[in-house]
């Protein structure tokens, strides 16, 4: 076998490995939610939940109409940076922080905690934005 063929073969192997191991979920925490019982994620379901109104409260009350833009706290007016992964990836670097905000904000918005499926769906939607 010539050197050129070996190089091509190695390249093909590399591409194959990358393709197989590519993570279908942009955020690792989504996999954690799946290990905890969430099934296939659905960005549209996440979007719906994001816009659901519960007694006048919805995620957009503070985060604004577009996750790509800044929001502002409904009461204190403090600036809230965008939620879209593509615009503000720093948001998603700490799983503990993601959990903290889900706990606080689901309770405020829906009056209850969000389940793993809902959290996985919302994150799938926000990371597609």
């Amino acid at each position: 076998m010539k050197t050129g063929q070996i190089v091509i073969a190695l390249w093909l192997c590399l591409i194959l490995i990358t393709a197989v191991s590519a993570n279908p979920n942009p955020l690792k925490i989504i996999e954690v939610y799946q290990q905890q019982g969430a099934s296939r994620t659905d960005a549209n379901r996440g979007k719906q939940l994001w816009e659901t109104d519960t007694e006048g409260r919805r995620c957009t009350s503070c985060h604004g109409d577009s996750p790509s833009n800044n929001g502002s706290h409904i009461k204190t007016k403090k600036l809230i940076k965008p939620m879209a992964l593509s615009v503000n990836p720093e948001r998603y670097q700490d799983d503990k922080k993601i959990e903290k905000w889900f706990l606080r904000n689901c309770k405020w918005t829906f009056g209850r905690e969000c389940n793993v499926q809902e959290k996985a769906d919302i994150l799938t939607w926000l990371s597609s934005q």
Binding site: T76, K100, R104
Partner: protein, 173 residues
Amino acid sequence: MKQNRNMMAGSILMTAILAFSLYGFGQIWASSKNQANPLYAEECGSCHMAYPAQLLPPQSWQNMMLQLEDHFGENAELDAESKQAIESYLVEASQQGNGSSRKLFRNLGKQVPERITTLPYFIHEHDEIPSRLITSNDKVGSLSQCNACHQRAEQGDFDEDDVSIPGFGRWDD
């Protein structure tokens, strides 16, 4: 001649080192004096201004930390470890309050205020400002937004000379 030059270079160097260290210590001192602890700034300051601890008596902070699930209508739950750390910081920093915070707690008696805006001294200091400059002013909204008008509020500096009300300007009473 050469010796002289060496001595001069040496003293310039020593002076520079001295000045640099003094500057460094000054910075550390200034930041430890009034700047909020990083955990407090992160956890509480993401929703509102991280109010300087000296603005409420220690007991008020302790009460507040007991009801974070309903924090003036908002959920501000914290994990046990962060809660403990923030409470210790607030109580300690509040106890170390300077003269002006004792002035702030004047006429309180045995009351334990829930909010800074209900302190008699606070009310007295703000009662002449017309509501069109506060509640009807989009850029202010309420008296809780200290830093809308007090430019150095987050550093705990509420000097009247630094007040600038958005859309209105300086305020003198």
